[in-house]
């Protein structure tokens, strides 16, 4: 009995030992993959002495963890900052009253397209939607040039996309509905369905299937495509619709949480993330394209100036997304 009492005392002590809090800290939730976000946060910690407590998530879980957690914690927020891999999630949070306004001085030279006019989110380091293809399966001449080519008979059973109910694929489809209008976008999706498009679990899965030669080509994000190239896979990467519609550009976004427990430190972290230095690091680690001017980037990272972007309003696209979710669900299921 004595041994059991000692054992339970130890258990209780272990549980209570972690209850203490240090004050000079900042809590960040991020849906940006940990391999890329963690080094940046560690640098911030080293440079400022502010302890960073992070909660990471991943695209593989469709960022269920952090987004639903932020929504569930709304009445008693634990996080100070949310760093998202795309603006859509942040806009959902803004619409549900989770975000607070903060206009960072470091974002002054970032184009207004990539910022919320009310300061609820600010964009930095962008990715784009691209086509990745296996060079063993498609010759240069056969590579699609437009997203609409993917509906051609020629590519029947050869194209993969991630589940459009989640992540950046949803964003891309919402942008298409926004730009093309409902009817044209639906026609395009029908042509994809008719062409037996493969629906993968994530963009990473699309990349993997193309790299392994299971599928000839697929839509993914620039960071996934860059990683495949870095690993030495025999793949090519194409920005689609460079004549016409343009490619979807997706900035990272950062925002302050409404009633953040460490607001001052949260703002410091936001400033740090929005700096040119962070953009340079993200360009190097995962080929993200800086939104600030004159940031030094590796040669293999494309410049935003060299890409024809899809002309969209992020807020409207987020609203469009909510309108088309039911249609997308039935499209996936039927």
């Amino acid at each position: 009995m004595k041994h059991i009492s000692i054992l339970w005392s130890v258990v209780l002590l272990m549980l209570l030992s972690s209850c203490g809090k240090t004050k000079n800290e900042v809590v960040i939730y991020t849906s940006v993959d940990q391999v890329f976000s963690e080094p940046i946060l560690k640098d911030f910690e080293q440079e400022t002495g502010i302890k960073v407590k992070a909660v990471y998530d991943t695209e593989e879980t469709k960022s269920t963890g952090v987004l639903n957690r932020l929504l569930a914690e709304k009445n008693n927020p634990q996080a100070d900052v949310f760093w998202s891999g795309d603006p859509i999630r942040t806009i959902v949070l803004k619409q549900r009253g989770v975000t607070a306004s903060y206009h960072s001085a470091l974002a002054q030279d970032i184009s207004p397209i990539f910022k919320d006019s009310e300061g609820h989110w600010t964009g930095f380091s962008a990715r784009a939607r691209v086509l990745i293809y296996n060079k063993n399966l498609l010759t240069d001449d056969d590579v699609p040039k437009s997203i609409f080519d993917l509906g051609n008979e020629k590519y029947k059973g050869k194209v993969a996309i991630a589940n459009p109910l989640f992540g950046t694929t949803t964003f891309q489809f919402a942008a298409l509905f926004s730009s093309l209008g409902y009817e044209r976008a639906k026609l395009f999706l029908s042509s994809l369905k008719k062409n037996k498009v493969v629906i993968a679990t994530s963009n990473g899965d699309v990349k993997k299937r193309v790299v392994k030669g299971e599928i000839a080509c697929g839509l993914t994000d620039t960071d996934d495509a860059h990683e495949a190239v870095q690993e030495g896979a025999n793949v090519g990467v194409v920005f689609l619709d460079q004549v016409g519609l343009g490619s979807l550009i997706m900035p990272n976004t950062v925002n302050l949480i409404y009633r953040a427990p460490n607001e001052a430190n949260g703002k410091k972290l936001i400033d740090y993330l929005l700096s040119s230095k962070t953009e340079a690091k993200l360009a190097k680690s995962c080929a993200q394209m800086p939104l600030h001017k004159n940031v030094l980037i590796p040669k293999d990272v494309p410049s935003l100036d060299a890409i024809v972007p899809m002309q969209i309003n992020y807020e409207e696209t987020a609203n469009k997304l909510q309108e088309i979710q039911n249609y997308l669900k039935s499209w996936v299921e039927n």
């Binding site: 549980l15 940990q34 998530d57 639903n68 008693n76």
Partner: protein
Amino acid sequence: MGRELDHKLSFNIIFWSVFIFVGLPLIYTFGMTIGAWKKDLGLLDGKLFGLLMRSGLISLIISALSTVIGVVLAFFLYKTDIQFKSVLKIILLIPLFVSPYILAVAWRDLFLILGLSSSWISYVGMIGVLTMIFVPLSVLIIGSGLSNIDASLEESGLMLTSYKEVFWKIILPLIKPALISSLVLVFIFSISEFSVPAYFGVKVFTTEIFTQFSAFYNHSLAIFQSLLLVVICIALLFAERQYLAEAPFFSIGTKGVKQKVYQSSTKLGLWIVMAWLVISVGLPIVVLFAQAAQGGTAVFLKSFNLLRHSFLNSITLAFVGALLLTLVGVVAALGYLGQGRRRYQDYFDGMLLILFAIPSTILGVSLIQFYNHPALNFIYSSDAIIVIGYTGKFAFIAAKIIKNSVRQIPKSLIESAEIVGVNYWLRLRKIVFPILMPSIFTAFLVGFILCLGELGTTIMLYPPGTEIMPIKVFTLMANASDFLTSAMVLVVLAVSLIGVLGIYGLAYWIASKREKRYD
């Protein structure tokens, strides 16, 4: 009377602790969404029920396969004298250490290498992978049942008839509670599993719940749909109870009674066990090794460095979680000691079942909504919230494993002790616990392994800045290279194995100390 009072006290403490710490958050969350249920009711259509039926059928196939394979493997590992069986038992557990998602990735890679990529492979792959993951659970449950068979029953049977008859007429009926537990547990695990069906692109009921949760952020509908899963699980438990109520319970092999171990004249048993291990453990590990090896030895070092800060924390949390859920399991199971109606125990059982059957994400959100208040921050912002999550998620399994053995304890043993005036606690220490020890150990071990790999609830709850092994692998693997991901999984495997060996070592040490004391 003393027995009743003492038992009631401990029962009440644990029952109300579980109710307040885990049950209440769920009721709170359900209560918050109840207003929206009228609207949600309209969204339940035939298609959704069709999906539920399909998920049920798939889960039934998986649970049947796991149990049948579990009987065969448990028989050879627990009832025969095949060589290296202690080592083989540990190797068999390996699929439980790894996140189902990662095993699914390894298997799909293997299918691709073998050129199998047609659509039917999705169903076969999903059923195959989940069966391989759950077979160790079946083996542990059935093995525990087999270990409890009194040798004299089998020996008497063998004097009169053939071994085949003994197996069908004596052994199988005696392990019926374990067989049904295996079927029920694996069924519930399968029907609640999300990551493997999602990876193989098979639409099941949990993927629908997940879609409502993550694509539509419709928490009330997701919670409402998850209630349907709970209803199915309760119906299953009810059916099980009705069936078991009519099942005969025989005395078990207890301390001082020899367990019958059959001598295998051929190596057939060893070959069968080895063949299973090659398929379920060897092949995925070879795939993972082959992928990791592409990165050279440096990738293993990198993986180790990435994960090393999470080792101690993960093992400690899993250990504490396993202790707690085993305690809950013991108290919940002790209510079934002897015969008679056990209404309150049934309530406890039902509560544990509901907690177990609720999808991880819903449990996570419920705990957030309940504990994320300034007054409860000391729990919410500490590791305690993770342990509460573990207890809610897995206490049912511990209770189920231990309950099977409790129901097999002959009433005469307890009554004899009661007649000569042995008090309740002494009876527990001297009679009940020694008999239950194999089951308690199994429950603890299974609990430890499940806590160590838990992802769905933990990812919703882990305090900022905390490093936990499965979460770190999962968040790192999204954009890590294949070889780094594979190396990380192998590092996790090694650490988990060390943890399990440590538990076996601890159990061996405690057992040898006890033996010395009795000598």
